[in-house]
C-alpha cells in the first residue's frame, strides 16, 4: 500500500518519457485544440436555436470531428507531397476521384446500373488506392522534372480532365474487352451526371456493428451492441443516425492516426531525409548521388494512394456520388491546402491542427454564426438580393443589410478563407508549426557516440 503511489509515479514517468519521445507534446496540443473547438461548438449550440438539447450538441460535435478527421487526413497526405518533398500538387481532388471511382468499379454489384465487378470492400479499397497511385505515377513520370508552378498547373489540369471525363456521357456505361473472345466482357460505368450507387462502402462494416442489415438499417433489426448503444443514445436524446456517424468518425480518427504514424515513419528515415533534401535543394541531393527522380516518383505514388483512400473514406461512405460534387473540384484541393498551410506545411501535427482549425473555424463555424444571429437578433426576412439589402443602407436601416450578410455567410466564408490564405502567405508562410524542426532520422542524432567528448 505504501509503495503504491511510487509505483504509479514510476509508470507515469515512464509513460511521460515514452510520450515525449514518440510524440513530444503534440498529442496534448491536438487534444487542447480539439477541446477548445468542442467548447466553442458546445457554446454555439447552447446559444443557438437548439439551445441546451443534448442531442444537438452531440450531433454538432460529431460533425465537427468528422470534418476535422477528413481534412486532417487529406492534409497529412498532401504534407507528404508538399510539406516533405516540396511537390506542389494541386490536383488532390483528381486523385481522390480516381480512388473513389476505381473503388466503385470494383465493388458495385454487376447487376446495378452502372455496374461494377461486385468485389469485396477490402479489394475495392486496395484497388482504389492502387489506381490513384498508378495515375500518380503516370503523372509523375513526365511531370516531376517540371518547375513547381508548372507541376501545379499540370496537376490541377489533370484533376479537371479526370472530373470532366467522369461526367462524360460516353463513360456512363461502357464495355471492356468486347472485341477479345478469350476475355469475358466487362461492363463498367461512371454513371456520368446521374451518379453511381455504392452499396458496398466503408460505412457498412461500421453500421454492421449496430445493425443486422447495415445496408438498410431501417429494414433490419439491431445487433446486441446496437441495442445497447442506440438505446442509451436515444434515452439521452441523441438521434440514431448521429450514433452511426459517430462510430464512422471514430474509424476516420483511427485512419488519421495511421496516416500520422506512416508519415512519421517515412519522415524519420533516410528516405524521408532525402525527401526533405529534395524540398530544400534538389541539386544538392543530386550532387550527393541521390537519384531524386526515383524518390519523387515513389513519394508521389504513396501520397496519391493516401489521397485515393481519403477520397473513398470521404465520398464513397455516403453510398452514392457523382463527379459534380465539391469533393472532386479544384476548390476542394484548395481547402486541403488551406488546412495544411494553416497548420504548417512540413509538420504532421500541424497538418492535423490545420485540419481541425479549418474544419472548425473556417468551414463549419460560420454556419453556426448564421443560425445564432438569426436566432438571437430578430432581423426579419433577409432581402433576397444585394440591391434590396443595399437600398436599406442609404436610408440608414442597417438591419436589412445585416440580415442579407448573415444569410449569405456561407458564401462569405470563402472570402474569409481567401483573406486567411493571403494573410498567411504575407505574414506567416510557415503556418502554426511549419517552422519547427522535424526529425529526419530513425535515431536521435544528438546522441553522441562514445559518451560526451569535450573539445
Amino acid at each position: 500500500m505504501s509503495d503504491g503511489p511510487g509505483a504509479l509515479d514510476g509508470v507515469r514517468r515512464r509513460w511521460d518519457a515514452a510520450a515525449t519521445r514518440v510524440f513530444g507534446n503534440d498529442p496534448l496540443l491536438v487534444a487542447a485544440v480539439m477541446l477548445g473547438i468542442y467548447v466553442l461548438f458546445t457554446a454555439m449550440t447552447l446559444v443557438g436555436p437548439s439551445g441546451g438539447d443534448l442531442g444537438a450538441i452531440v450531433s454538432n460535435l460529431q460533425a465537427v470531428t468528422f470534418w476535422t478527421a477528413l481534412y486532417a487526413m487529406m492534409a497529412l497526405a498532401l504534407n507528404l507531397h508538399w510539406g516533405y518533398t516540396g511537390l506542389f500538387n494541386i490536383g488532390v481532388a483528381g486523385f481522390m476521384a480516381v480512388g473513389v471511382y476505381a473503388f466503385a468499379a470494383l465493388t458495385v454489384p454487376p447487376s446495378a446500373s452502372p455496374p461494377g465487378l461486385g468485389l469485396p470492400l477490402v479489394v475495392g479499397i486496395a484497388g482504389g488506392m492502387l489506381a490513384a497511385a498508378f495515375v500518380g505515377v503516370l503523372t509523375a513520370l513526365p511531370a516531376l522534372r517540371l518547375r513547381a508552378d508548372y507541376l501545379a498547373i499540370v496537376t490541377v489540369a489533370l484533376s479537371e480532365i479526370i472530373r470532366r471525363s467522369l461526367l462524360s456521357p460516353e463513360l456512363e456505361e461502357f464495355t471492356l474487352f468486347s472485341n477479345l473472345g478469350f476475355v469475358p466482357d466487362v461492363t463498367l460505368g461512371s454513371g456520368a451526371g446521374r451518379g453511381i450507387n455504392m452499396p458496398t462502402n466503408p460505412s457498412i462494416p461500421v453500421k454492421s456493428v449496430l445493425y443486422t442489415d447495415p445496408g438498410n438499417p431501417a429494414a433490419g433489426g439491431r445487433t446486441v451492441v446496437g441495442k445497447a448503444v442506440l438505446g442509451a443514445a436515444e434515452s439521452a436524446g441523441v438521434r440514431e443516425t448521429v450514433v452511426s456517424q459517430f462510430a464512422y468518425t471514430l474509424v476516420l480518427v483511427a485512419v488519421v492516426v495511421l496516416f500520422y504514424w506512416l508519415l512519421v515513419r517515412v519522415g524519420n528515415s533516410p528516405f524521408g531525409r532525402v525527401l526533405k533534401a529534395i524540398r530544400e535543394d534538389e541539386l544538392v541531393a543530386n550532387s550527393l548521388g541521390k537519384d531524386t527522380r526515383v524518390f519523387k516518383i515513389k513519394v508521389f505514388a504513396l501520397g496519391c494512394a493516401l489521397m485515393g483512400l481519403g477520397g473513398i473514406l470521404w465520398e464513397a461512405q455516403r453510398g452514392f456520388t457523382d463527379a459534380s460534387v465539391t469533393t472532386f473540384r479544384p476548390l476542394q484541393t484548395f481547402y486541403i491546402f488551406v488546412a495544411l498551410i494553416i497548420g504548417g506545411a512540413g509538420s504532421n501535427t500541424g497538418s492535423v491542427l490545420g485540419g481541425a482549425l479549418f474544419a472548425g473555424l473556417l468551414f463549419q463555424g460560420p454556419l453556426f454564426v448564421r443560425r445564432i444571429v438569426a436566432h438571437l437578433l430578430n432581423l426579419g426576412d433577409p432581402p433576397s438580393t444585394f440591391v434590396g439589402a443595399a437600398a436599406g443602407l442609404f436610408s440608414l436601416e442597417l438591419g436589412g443589410f445585416l440580415a442579407y450578410t448573415v444569410n449569405n455567410i456561407s458564401e462569405l466564408r470563402f472570402v474569409f478563407l481567401g483573406l486567411v490564405l493571403i494573410y498567411l502567405m504575407q505574414r506567416r508562410p510557415t503556418g502554426l508549426l511549419g517552422h519547427r524542426k522535424e526529425a529526419a532520422a530513425s535515431v536521435d542524432l544528438m546522441e553522441r557516440p562514445g559518451g560526451e567528448s569535450d573539445e
Partner: protein
C-alpha cells in the same frame, strides 16, 4: 554503385584491376592514368560562350588548382563535369570512364563529388541531418525499408553507425557545437565547412571544390588543408580546387590549371604558371 565497387576503386589507386572494366571496356583505366580528363569541353548559354574548348586533366591523388579571372568559366566547367549542365561538345572522363552527359547523381555515385561556389546547405535541415544525408546507398533509403517494421532494426543500426561517422567529421571540421543548428542559420564560413564535410562523407574518389575556404578562418583553413593532404596520402583522393587565394594555390597545389575566357590558358607546376606571360596578361587589372 555498391560498396564493393567503391572499395575496388580505392584499390585502383594502387594500380589494381578496374572494377568497372566490364561496364566500360576501359581495361587500363585505373592503372595510374589521370583521374579526370576533360577534352574540348564546350558550353554556351543563349549565344554567350562560357566554356570554349577547355582541355585538361587531373592526376590521381593530386591536389590541382583551377584558377582564372572571374567569368573564366571555372564554375561552368564544374557544372558541365558533374552533369548539372548538358554540354554542347567535348568529353569528360573519370578514371577512364566516359561520364559526359551523365546525370549529376550518376556522376556522384561514381565517386566524383563537388561543392558549390555559393554554399548550398539544406537550410531547414540541421547540420547533422545535412551530413547524415551524404553517405550513399543507405539502408532505409527505399520506401519499403523506411516504412516496414521488419527493416526497422537494421535501419537504426546503420543510422547509429553513420551517426558516429558524422560526429567524427563534425569534430574534425570544428562545427560539432552547431550539430543541432538549422543549416540556414550558419555563417558563410560555417556553410562552406558544412559543404566540404558533407562532400567528404559521400566517400568520394575525387572532389571538385569551388572556393571551399571563402570565409573560413586561416587557422582552420590550414588545418583543413592538412586534412586534404592527409586524404591524398592515405586514401589516394584527388582534389580539383577553384581558389582565388594565390598563396594557397602556390603553396599547396602540385599542379595548376589557368582558365581564361572559357579556355585553358596555361597548365603546369605553380612556379611555371606564375611566371607565364599570358597568365600575367590575363590577370592584369583583375583582382587576384
Amino acid at each position: 554503385m555498391s560498396d564493393d565497387a567503391t572499395a575496388a576503386r580505392a584499390a585502383a589507386a594502387d594500380a589494381a584491376a578496374d572494377a568497372n572494366a566490364d561496364e566500360t571496356g576501359d581495361v587500363d583505366a585505373r592503372t595510374g592514368g589521370p583521374a579526370l580528363e576533360v577534352e574540348d569541353l564546350r558550353k554556351s548559354f543563349a549565344g554567350l560562350v562560357a566554356v570554349d574548348g577547355a582541355t585538361f586533366s587531373v592526376e590521381q591523388g593530386s591536389l590541382t588548382g583551377l584558377i582564372g579571372p572571374n567569368g573564366a568559366g571555372k564554375s561552368t566547367t564544374f557544372n558541365c563535369i558533374t552533369g548539372v549542365h548538358d554540354v554542347d561538345g567535348g568529353t569528360v572522363r573519370f578514371f577512364g570512364e566516359d561520364v559526359t552527359g551523365l546525370r549529376t547523381n550518376r556522376v556522384a555515385e561514381r565517386g566524383l563529388v563537388r561543392t558549390f561556389q555559393i554554399a548550398r546547405e539544406l537550410e531547414e535541415m540541421t547540420v547533422l541531418e545535412n551530413l547524415m544525408l551524404a553517405p550513399g546507398d543507405q539502408r532505409g533509403e527505399t520506401l519499403a525499408q523506411a516504412v516496414l517494421p521488419g527493416f526497422r532494426d537494421a535501419v537504426r543500426d546503420r543510422e547509429r553507425a553513420l551517426r558516429e561517422e558524422v560526429w567524427e567529421t563534425l569534430e574534425l571540421f570544428e562545427i560539432d557545437h552547431l550539430a543541432d543548428e538549422q543549416a540556414g542559420n550558419l555563417s558563410g564560413g560555417q556553410r562552406k565547412l558544412l559543404e566540404l564535410s558533407r562532400a567528404l562523407l559521400t566517400d568520394p574518389d575525387m572532389l571538385l571544390l569551388d572556393e571551399p575556404f571563402a570565409g573560413v578562418n586561416p587557422t582552420l583553413e590550414e588545418k583543413l588543408l592538412d586534412r586534404i593532404h592527409a586524404l591524398q596520402r592515405e586514401r589516394g583522393l584527388t582534389f580539383l580546387l577553384v581558389e582565388h587565394d594565390m598563396d594557397l594555390i602556390m603553396n599547396h597545389c602540385e599542379h595548376v590549371i589557368v582558365m581564361h575566357q572559357g579556355q585553358v590558358l596555361a597548365e603546369g607546376p605553380p612556379e611555371a604558371v606564375r611566371d607565364d606571360e599570358q597568365v600575367i596578361d590575363a590577370y592584369l587589372g583583375e583582382e587576384i
